[in-house]
Amino acid sequence: MAKGVKPRVKVPKTAAAGDTITIKTLISHKMESGQRKDDDGNVIPRSIINRFTCDFNGENVIDVTLEPAISTNPYFEFEAKVPEAGEFKFTWYDDDGSVYDTAKKIAIG
């Protein structure tokens, strides 16, 4: 079980209908690659976030597969079109089966 995992997301509170907005996300996670060895020479087991998704009102915006070469605290910045008011839902999937999610509402105005 990875410790100290905390998702952070930045989404504007409002946007004009049809606007393209920038979304920034970061999850604090050690992203242990599975390639390293500890002081005794034993392989440190892989423990990474392997998938990240973002949905807007049930419609998929982005779906990312993460690989072991990705650094600690993976950061994603992407754009999304906002046709209507609603909620962005963000989900991260951990190797250990844990799922972390968070959501942000956006209003039209």
Binding site: G4, K6, R8, K10, K24, L26, S28, T72, N73
Partner: protein, 281 residues
Amino acid sequence: MKKLTSALLASAVFCTPLMADPVEDTLILNEEITMVTRTAAPAHVSDVLDEVISGWHFRGTETRAMQADDFDNPGMIFVEQAEEVWNTADGSEGKSCSSCHEGTDSMKGVRAVYPKWNEAAGEVRTLEMQVNDCRENRMGAEKWKYTGGDMTNMVALISSVSRGMPVDVAITGPAQSMWEQGKELYYTRTGQLELACASCHEDNYGNMIRADHLSQGQINGFPTYRLKNTKLNSVHARFKGCVRDTRAETFKPGSPEFVALELYVASRGNGLSVEGPSIRN
């Protein structure tokens, strides 16, 4: 042929871009706080500097942009970690920082005036010394290592609530002798390379030292997140690194020498905004 070569050489020389000057830019934090990153030098350094300039002006475009938004600033992850520690009880008294100080907002303005003379203890104290005094005597907890992660993160948390306030350390009164000692250290050449702090940061700021852009060595941005080691770095760890680079035996972090030097260097930045946690190379 010789003429052509020298003509080519000449053009190469003239085409070299002038990278020496600090970048003209304004640091606006989170689109809210306009930071003072260059200002008239305080009276006690006005004989050697016209203007004091934050290290922020000496870094690249991307690095500068990262610091302008808390979400993009990786230093803030460590601040968040310290926030948890702030609220977690430790030691034999069963107290946390928040037991006495309540919210972290109560620390507003503290970073700006440290290092500071402590009347009761009769010494100049850095924030780190104050934190450890709290841990030892109020909480009954183990001292933290002076430049350790827990300590540096906590100092960054305390610093973060003062961002935008001008650095204003007192150099007269009881702190003066310590300040004089710090000043002497600043101008004393050390190591096989015989370099004083002033050799780089006063005489040559703005010039390139190999691939790196020399700043004035201001410490208003500490603790600083360094891209080279992806963690927060404390002032004394940086001092140690600098002294080591002159190929000298360094003072210990937390030693009276470095406390004096911190007081002096901080006073050179009086008037600049507190920036910590900042981002540097």
